[in-house]
């Protein structure tokens, strides 16, 4: 066997690198294509402000989708994230309105910690119902989706929950609207969250276990992996990501209602899949997910900036663009 290992080995490595690269690159190619289209549609599109705007507001979906990448890679699905945003954000605002802590800085810090804790607990609940309760994740999280949304409606008594203290609001505003070295905070947060997620998924034991559990529960079990724990942690990571998204969401609008985050779960899942992660579980692509979230947001942005499309048809065109983007991706990958 060693006879042909020399030359062959070399070509093989090159080929498979190209292969891997193209698969990972495909969503980025679709993104680039969209940017070109956008530039043609409206000259304002390509301005830094606009692109920064788009990137900034994709933050919520992007961050949630990073969490979804874990859940989906481990072979599950979480439909409750949209309602979870509403629920967690409501609790955060209610806590800040409660005024239990006088000092605004302290109050804000406490509220942020609380948010992270609640988000993780919501994720934990999803995880336990799915794994310990052995219910299909689709149904389990559809159930909790109803629960979180219902609780939000109840908390808000059908209305809105608004951050009352303008001092707190002023203090908190920069978390969404501010920027560091010219980089808007949300973009910074996306990058940090994704980098950490990529590290966890690709460079830690846990990440490897997620992939294994997603590709085959049985193999994972026979390899001594605590399958249910891995799955539950993935749900907790999802909850954590939701909490981070909430931390950015609350300073932006300063208020929530029962309609906050409606259909975000579908958008998050779409971002994950457009980014190249398979819904069946297995290998996850975190950077692809981010790219997918940008793509979704860009499509909407281009629609809005173009002035020749009947607003009634926006949905239809958005749908077509998603399909076309996937076809482009597919044909790129096929050539590899």
């Amino acid at each position: 066997m060693s006879i042909n290992s020399g030359s062959e080995g070399a070509t093989i490595r090159r080929r498979s690198w190209r292969d891997v690269d193209l698969r990972a690159v495909a969503p980025f190619a679709a993104l680039a294509l969209l940017i070109v289209i956008g530039a043609l549609v409206n000259p304002n599109f390509i301005s830094i402000t606009n692109l920064a705007n788009v990137a900034t507001r994709s933050a919520f979906i992007a961050i949630i989708a990073v969490g979804a990448t874990f859940v989906i890679s481990s072979g599950d699905l979480d439909l409750s994230v949209g309602s979870m945003v509403a629920f967690v954000a409501s609790l955060m605002i209610l806590f800040m309105n409660s005024g239990v802590i006088a000092d605004p800085g302290l109050m804000l810090a406490a509220a942020m910690v609380l948010t992270v804790v609640i988000g993780s607990l919501c994720g934990l609940a999803n995880g336990l119902i799915t794994t310990v309760g052995r219910i299909e994740p689709f149904i389990a999280t559809l159930g909790t989706m109803g629960i979180y949304r219902g609780l939000t409606t109840w908390l808000s008594q059908g209305g809105a929950i608004t951050l009352r203290s303008s001092e707190l609001q002023g203090l908190y505003r920069p978390a969404y609207f501010g920027s560091v070295f010219g980089l808007p905070v949300p973009i910074l947060v996306i990058l940090i969250v994704t980098a950490i997620a990529a590290f966890i998924l690709y460079r830690t034991r846990y990440g490897r276990h997620v992939t294994a559990v997603g590709s085959s529960r049985d193999v994972a079990r026979y390899s001594g992996i605590a399958v249910n724990r891995v799955r539950t942690i993935a749900f907790i990571i999802q909850g954590l990501c939701v909490a981070i998204a909430v931390l950015l969401y609350v300073p932006r609008l300063g208020s929530t209602s029962a309609t906050t985050g409606i259909l975000w779960e579908l958008q998050a899942i779409t971002a994950v899949v457009v980014g190249g992660t398979a819904l069946k579980g297995g290998a996850g692509r975190v950077w692809g997910t981010i790219c997918g979230a940008f793509i979704l947001e860009l499509v909407g942005n281009i629609m809005l900036l173009s002035n020749f499309i009947s607003e009634y048809l926006i949905g239809a065109i958005q749908g077509s663009i998603i399909i076309i983007a996937m076809l482009v991706q597919r044909s790129l990958t096929r050539k590899a």
């Binding site: 093989i12 490897r208 276990h209 992939t211 590709s215 085959s216 193999v219 026979y222 390899s223």
Partner: protein, 508 residues
């Protein structure tokens, strides 16, 4: 039976200078091969030699990169995806090819269901399935879901599926790898019957005694090259092995190394019961190789899985190094130095969509953690080590494990289990689908482990393996441990008598 008059007849199916590459990796180099009417043609070679690939090309599941195929002397291009069945060319895949959600009868007729007025004739299909299974001496229930079947039963279903078709050539890619001697005999009877009726067989196996027993001609492949085709009667096992490996093989089994009687007991199983297995007790000493023999479905796998905590126990106790081991605690067992290698490499052993390294280190990732993150360099090293140690041969290092040859998958799985550095190793069917050369390496490897103070349990359906390797042999029958043999008692006859229920010891 001796229809081997070469040249006199045209072959049913033949390959001329067939080559095959996957991407830029060539796995077959200008191979010639032919199948005569009514012969059994054995195809042998080391793991990864390209046997499965050749067989897939000849049955239309892969297309050759160059060269041509001839059917009845006429060039053909076989239809893809098993449609060659219409031409009477049938393949029993090395890896199972059954849908888990279907029943046995449904699987047997999948793709060629029998209908009456457009309605499935389920009763007929069930009856027909029963008839074929009975003919094969299989007790498998025709209404059972495939997902509930044991590995061996799945293999019988595959065989039944092939035999039930109106075949001219049947390719069998290691059909006996998971079968017991008895089932193999029944299979061979059927093969002989069909051969007499004119059906040809191509038979891929690593069991050279079966080659001698059944085949009319033998073709040897090595590293994707054709080496030799000859009538079986002109060869013997040793010469075939030599042709395969390209060198002389020393004795297959290493010298047995009996542990001292006062060696520590490292594992003791007391009155263990599960849903199927009843009241099994035995002990394992340091440095011992203990064999588990028995018929298929006798509960050997179940007891091992119960010991390691992969299956719920109903009663009994497992003590490892003097400390009891909790039920359902496979991870705890692994932590305490126990390792278990499953026999179901596709379903439970390996991640087929991942690469080799990810599989190798899956169970032992903590060894590759540096400062809290995984160190790819360390993993690569481990991979290189494992490739050397277990002689894992692939032509493309980044190949998905699902595409590796069966034997090399088996070696990778063994390597994966050994990566955890266990002290007590339970190996279920250690050499399933492994070529003789590598088999020898694995046997020597197991013996070396024992000498180094590890204890090994070998569960195997291959009697010679148990006999050649183990210092004690436990025999299981219908969920009971019926005998614990030592010394001269370890021979084929005695084991068989216990396994078949003709003899029984008081629980030991």
């Amino acid at each position: 039976m001796t229809t081997t008059g070469e040249g006199a007849q045209t072959p049913v199916l033949s390959a001329e200078r067939v080559s095959k590459s996957f991407g830029e990796v060539q796995v077959l180099f200008s191979v010639d091969f032919d199948v005569m009417p009514g012969e059994v043609h054995a195809l042998v070679g080391e793991n990864g030699a390209g046997k499965s690939t050749l067989v897939k090309i000849l049955s239309g599941f892969e297309s050759p990169s160059s060269g041509r195929l001839l059917l009845d002397g006429e060039p053909v291009s076989l239809p893809a995806n098993g449609d060659a069945e219409a031409l009477g060319i049938i393949l029993i895949h090395q890896e199972f090819n059954l849908a888990e959600h279907l029943t046995v009868a449904e699987s047997l007729f999948l793709g060629r269901e029998v209908t009456r007025f457009g309605i499935l004739d389920r009763r007929f299909m069930r009856a027909e399935t029963r008839r074929i299974l009975d003919m094969l001496g299989s007790h498998v229930d025709e209404n059972a879901l495939i997902s509930t079947l044991a590995v061996a039963d799945k293999q019988m279903v595959e065989i039944a599926k092939a035999i039930s078709r109106d075949a001219r050539v049947i390719f069998m890619d290691e059909p006996t790898a998971v079968l017991s001697r008895e089932e193999t005999d029944i299979l061979f009877d059927q093969v002989r019957k069909l051969r007499a009726a004119g059906t040809s067989f191509v038979f891929v196996t690593h069991k050279l005694n079966e080659v001698m027993e059944l085949s009319d001609r033998v073709t040897v492949l090595r590293d994707g090259q054709w080496i030799k085709t000859a009538p079986t009667r002109l060869l013997d096992s040793d010469s075939i092995a030599q042709l395969m490996v390209g060198r002389e093989l020393s004795s297959l089994y290493p010298a047995k190394h009996e542990p001292d009687v006062d060696e520590d007991v490292v594992l003791s199983v007391r009155a263990l019961s599960t849903a199927y297995v009843k009241d099994v007790s035995f002990e394992l000493r340091k440095g011992e190789v203990l064999g588990f023999s028995g018929l298929i479905g006798s509960g050997r796998t179940e007891i091992m899985e119960a010991i390691t905590g992969l299956r719920p126990r109903l009663a009994g106790e497992v003590v490892v190094y003097g400390e009891p081991l909790a039920a359902e605690g496979f991870r705890e067992a692994v932590r305490r130095g126990l390792a278990y290698m499953t026999k179901d490499r596709k379903g439970r052993g390996l991640l087929l969509d991942e690469g080799m390294t990810a599989n190798l280190t899956l169970q032992s990732l903590e060894r590759h953690v540096r400062y809290g993150y995984l160190d790819p360099a360390s993993e690569r090293e481990a991979m290189a080590r494992a490739k050397r140690r277990f002689d894992i041969r692939v032509r493309d290092d980044r190949v998905r494990v699902g595409r590796m040859s069966g034997g090399n998958q088996q070696k990778l799985m063994l390597a994966k289990v050994m990566e955890t550095g266990p002290k007590i190793i339970i190996i279920d069917e250690p050499t399933r689908g492994i070529d003789v050369g590598t088999k020898q390496q694995i046997y020597h490897f197991i013996a070396a482990l024992a000498r180094d103070g590890c204890s090994v349990i070998v569960v195997s359906s291959e009697m010679p393996e148990v006999i050649g390797l183990c210092t004690r042999v436990a025999v299981m029958r219908e969920g009971h441990l019926v005998g614990m043999l030592e010394g001269d008692d370890i021979n084929e006859q005695t084991i068989m008598r216990y396994a078949a229920g003709l003899k029984r010891q008081a629980a030991g």
